[in-house]
Amino acid sequence: MANDAPTFRSLVTHFTDFLTVAIHTILYERNIYPRTSFLSARKYNFAVRQSRHPKVCEWINDAMAAVETEILKGTVERVAVVVYNQALKPTERYLFDLSRFPIVGAADADVPLERKAADGTTVSVLPVVDIEEQFRATMSKLANCGTVLRPPPVDGTFTVAIELKSDGQAPVSHPQPWMPVEAATRQGATELQSRRTHPLRAVVAGDLMFESWIEETPAAD
């Protein structure tokens, strides 16, 4: 990340790095893949788990690259990591709300950002130490999420989804990394009510601001 002048791109890169680690952690915690296939790594001065399987890593990296492209376009409102059960019904969602990201035009992605406080002093746009600390706290909460959620589904699977802003353009380019899905997956009021939400953390580090929480769909059957 730029030491001297953080750009919007570096901000997004920080976020996608964090998201990568978060996904690996979710996979470990929810037993999507056998725990023995994970090795211990260290990120943000914190012990985390990383999958060893090359295909898994590749898939996650590709997904993050696609997410980064979309965020840079400024169309993303939320990123969700959804865990499905064997019947392909979502059991839980890990959401990251990016609506508070700075709105920077696509052409300005590499322009150095600077923020001035009300009294004119320069405020850090991307305080690395703060970021590390907050990410660490979020990872710590995420790592322990297994204790508050219901037991994970057996033979479940997962995917990454993005929810676009209402005025955003859907990414339907030729090599299509994203699959459009109807937003009508939100069921009626009753189900919404029975959906449990566990807050994770609201990360505020300079201009990098996002919220994260876990939504559990009501116990099936």
């Binding site: 211990s40 914190f46 012990a47 710590s140 322990n144 297994g146």
Partner: protein, 473 residues
């Protein structure tokens, strides 16, 4: 302790849902670790009595386990009971590996094991032990622990939150395990700033020795403890400052094991003063001669500290700048220091520490001027500089001094030091040698240069022996 621990635990474990290990509790409440373990146990018991499963605990079990080592291929078979249990690698297993030539087929080796287990696995973990020497609560958390790795976060937090506490002072309070054979100079600076000082001080242990060594040397040079004490103290202060940093950095320096008990300490001193080579290893060698001095020098530490403070003022950046400017002559805070500097500069053009860098430069200049005694001092400075330099990595010294021939990477520091002392003696900088010798001889109350020379030479030889092994190059 009182009931505030219950309150503290209730706030942190139940409300904040944090992971609290017995270490964090002991640091937070300033109590002994063993007491903290008892507090955790008590809290756990009470909370679970009120509401079962309210608080989850992890336990630390120490004891011996039997490991069956298959003889077939000498492969050391690991038996992991639970994959959620962390097992520290015991020192013994390695010995069980090579035994293909034994007559028995499998050998059960008793392995001293330390294991952290979650409470749900406690009985299972205990069953795996052959004999248990101790069990205690390691940490408490609410709602269970999914990844036992997260316990490492507790220790990191302790390091960060309590970095300002000096372990030498608080170990009694917290009950930190002490090794009676480890000696550390009491002169220390604030631990946090040690980071900068660390590079300067290659050897933490040497800190105490340094002041002593410095003083010794200084005294030798001047043949007068008093007059030299001043410059020495100046140097010493710089050295001690370095030492603390070194101490910290060299806490686990492998070279410590090579240092002959105290010799290490003197080494650092000599190193810092002698050559800017940051290699801590180098320091070990010269230390040999100073082991005796260390003990006696402790008293001088105070004086040295005072002096060091003045010299330590320089930041790393300054030092580097100084190094650059070594060739040029810069003002030195003390006149005696100048002498040292001159020597130092000669010895290590590049590696001189900042604080010493200044002195070094002057040393260079003053080398010629000084008579034997003076030179000796400068030598000392040089050594220090070396140490203070960038730690063990020791930058390649672009020293123009003729002594630099000795550079051999790691050996540079040592060799240069030694050499410098040696050479200085013969070449106008008898100080280093004198200092060294002085240090040694001071013990014996003899300030002959000869001794120094011998020592210097001897030391160099020693250094070469070990240093070559650790030479970076």
């Amino acid at each position: 302790m009182a009931q505030d621990y219950t309150e503290w635990l209730a706030i942190n474990v139940l409300n904040d849902q944090q992971l609290i290990s017995y270490r964090s509790l002991s640091r937070a409440l300033k109590v002994h670790s063993n007491l903290a373990k008892q507090m955790l146990y008590d809290f756990h018991r009470k909370q679970n009595a009120k509401k079962p499963g309210a608080v989850h605990a992890t336990y630390l079990i120490t004891g011996t386990k039997l490991k069956n080592v298959a003889q077939t291929n000498g492969f050391h078979s690991q038996q992991d009971e639970e994959n959620t249990v962390m097992q520290s690698s015991p020192p013994l297993p390695s010995s069980s590996a090579p035994q293909p030539d034994d007559d028995t087929k499998t050998e059960a080796v008793a392995v001293r094991t330390v294991m952290v287990a979650k409470e749900e696995h406690l009985s299972q973990a205990k069953a795996a032990f052959q004999s248990i020497t101790g069990v205690h609560v390691y940490s408490l958390e609410v709602k269970g622990l999914s990844d036992i790795q997260s316990l490492t976060e507790c220790n990191r937090k302790i390091l960060v939150d309590y970095a300002s506490e000096d372990p030498l002072e608080v170990w009694k309070q917290y009950g930190t395990i002490q090794n009676p054979n480890v000696m550390r100079r009491t002169q220390r600076r604030q631990p946090p700033p040690a980071a900068t000082a660390a590079p300067a001080k290659t050897k933490p242990s040497a800190s105490t020795v340094k002041p002593a060594a410095l003083e010794k040397r200084v005294s030798k040079d001047s043949q007068d403890s008093k007059p030299s004490s001043k410059p020495t103290s100046a140097k010493a202060t710089s050295e001690p400052s370095k030492k603390p940093s070194n101490v910290k950095r060299q806490g686990s320096d492998i070279f410590k094991s090579f240092a002959k008990s105290k010799t290490k300490l003197p080494r650092t001193d000599s190193q810092s003063s002698a050559a800017p080579s940051p290699k801590p290893v180098v320091e070990d060698e010269p230390m040999t001669g100073f082991s005796d001095e260390e003990g006696a020098d402790s008293v001088d530490d105070e004086v040295v500290d005072a002096a060091a403070d003045t010299v330590e003022g320089k930041s790393k950046a300054e030092r580097e700048a100084d190094l650059q400017a070594m060739m040029d002559q810069e003002d030195e805070p003390m006149e005696d220091v100048e002498e040292f500097k001159a020597e130092a500069t000669d010895a290590d053009a590049g590696a001189i520490d900042k604080p010493f860098s200044q002195p070094k430069e002057e040393l260079k200049e003053t080398v010629q001027v000084q008579d034997g005694r003076r030179r000796g001092r400068r030598r000392v400075m040089k050594k220090k500089t070396v140490k203070d330099e960038d730690g063990y990595l020791g930058k390649p010294q672009p020293k123009p001094t003729p002594y630099t021939v000795n550079k051999l990477g790691a050996n540079e520091h040592i060799v240069t030091r030694e050499e410098a002392a040696w050479e200085s003696f013969s070449e106008d900088e008898p100080a280093p040698k004198k200092i060294k010798v002085a240090a040694v001889s001071s013990m014996q109350a003899q300030g002959q240069k000869k001794d120094k020379e011998k020592d210097g030479g001897g030391k160099g030889g020693q250094k070469g022996g070990i240093m070559s092994f650790f030479a970076k190059k």
